[in-house]
């Protein structure tokens, strides 16, 4: 009798895995790849201006003084349009935002800023995504909190919504 019960073990195992697979199918899948650079020093870089209205961006522009936001964006990125007013709201609160435009043309950057507002003090042009790869960013838009020592303290993936503003302000405060 005991050995008979034993025969059901493989079936029970199979049912368990089938159930697990079915359960996991109903769960949300995150497509986000988080940067492993949080807590690490911002890598060295120096990017030329993305258009002639603002200076370019280098690591030294993000170090010292107050914590800053480093915003990875592009004029061809649709969520970046949705994010633009939220960045302006952060700027209105006194936050300095340095932009990096990924694979972008100067005239497109200028057009985007004329249409959707300019919250940046500087924008560097990253034509081959080298700085994006160096800081572990895997898409646009993404926003990083950089403290005065040049350490990456926080990463926000995706467009900033209204509800994200208090979180980012708190992270900037923590980085002080």
């Amino acid at each position: 009798m005991r050995s008979r019960l034993f025969l059901w073990v493989p079936l029970a195992l199979f049912a368990f895995f089938a159930g697990l697979a079915g359960y996991m199918l109903t769960q949300d899948k995150t497509e986000f790849v988080e940067s492993a650079m949080i807590g690490q020093s911002l890598p060295d870089f120096a990017l030329k201006p993305a258009f002639d209205g603002l200076p370019g961006a280098a690591r030294s522009d993000l170090v010292g003084g107050q914590p800053r936001l480093l915003n990875i964006w592009a004029s061809w990125c649709l969520p970046c349009i949705a994010e633009a007013p939220q960045l302006e709201a952060l700027q209105a609160q006194g936050v300095e935002i340095v932009g990096i435009a990924i694979r972008d043309r100067p005239e497109d950057v200028a057009n985007f800023l004329a249409r959707h507002g300019n919250p940046y003090t500087r924008i560097g042009a990253d034509d081959i995504s080298e700085v994006q790869l160096a800081i572990g960013s895997s898409g646009v838009p993404e926003t990083f909190v950089i403290d005065a020592a040049g350490v990456i303290r926080y990463q926000h993936i995706g467009d900033i919504r209204e509800s994200d503003i208090p979180i980012l302000l708190a992270e900037l405060e923590k980085a002080r």
């Binding site: 492993a36 990924i102 034509d127 995504s129």
Partner: protein, 142 residues
Amino acid sequence: MIRVLLAFLAALIALPLSAQDTMPPAPYAYNQLDDPALEAKATALMHTLRCLKCQSQSIADSDAPMAGDMRHQVRSRILAGESPAQIRAWLVARYGDYVSYTPTVSASTWPLFAIPALLILIVAAVLLRRLGRRRADAGDAS
């Protein structure tokens, strides 16, 4: 009639669903290295690195602009004398193990390697005992 035809033609034009950049690809995104030995090294590595925008493809398989930029990093770093292991480590330091298709033994993956070995040991032990018993039975019978 012409309007209908025009409407049909308009329907045939494929417009991209989401915007993509129009910039030219990075120099080494689609250009091979001149030295075939270095290019072979770079290609072998690119087949084992995950594209971050299209996560079920390697960067060698993907036409996403970001995959091209990653290929540029791989080829230019190989050209600069870095080893494939160094480049993989550079990317893993930025994106975690996720970016690499080569499995590594770590705190969370060791059971994947340990369980099959353990199962083989258990099966071997059971088999030896059974075979040993049968041989003993056969010895009794003769």
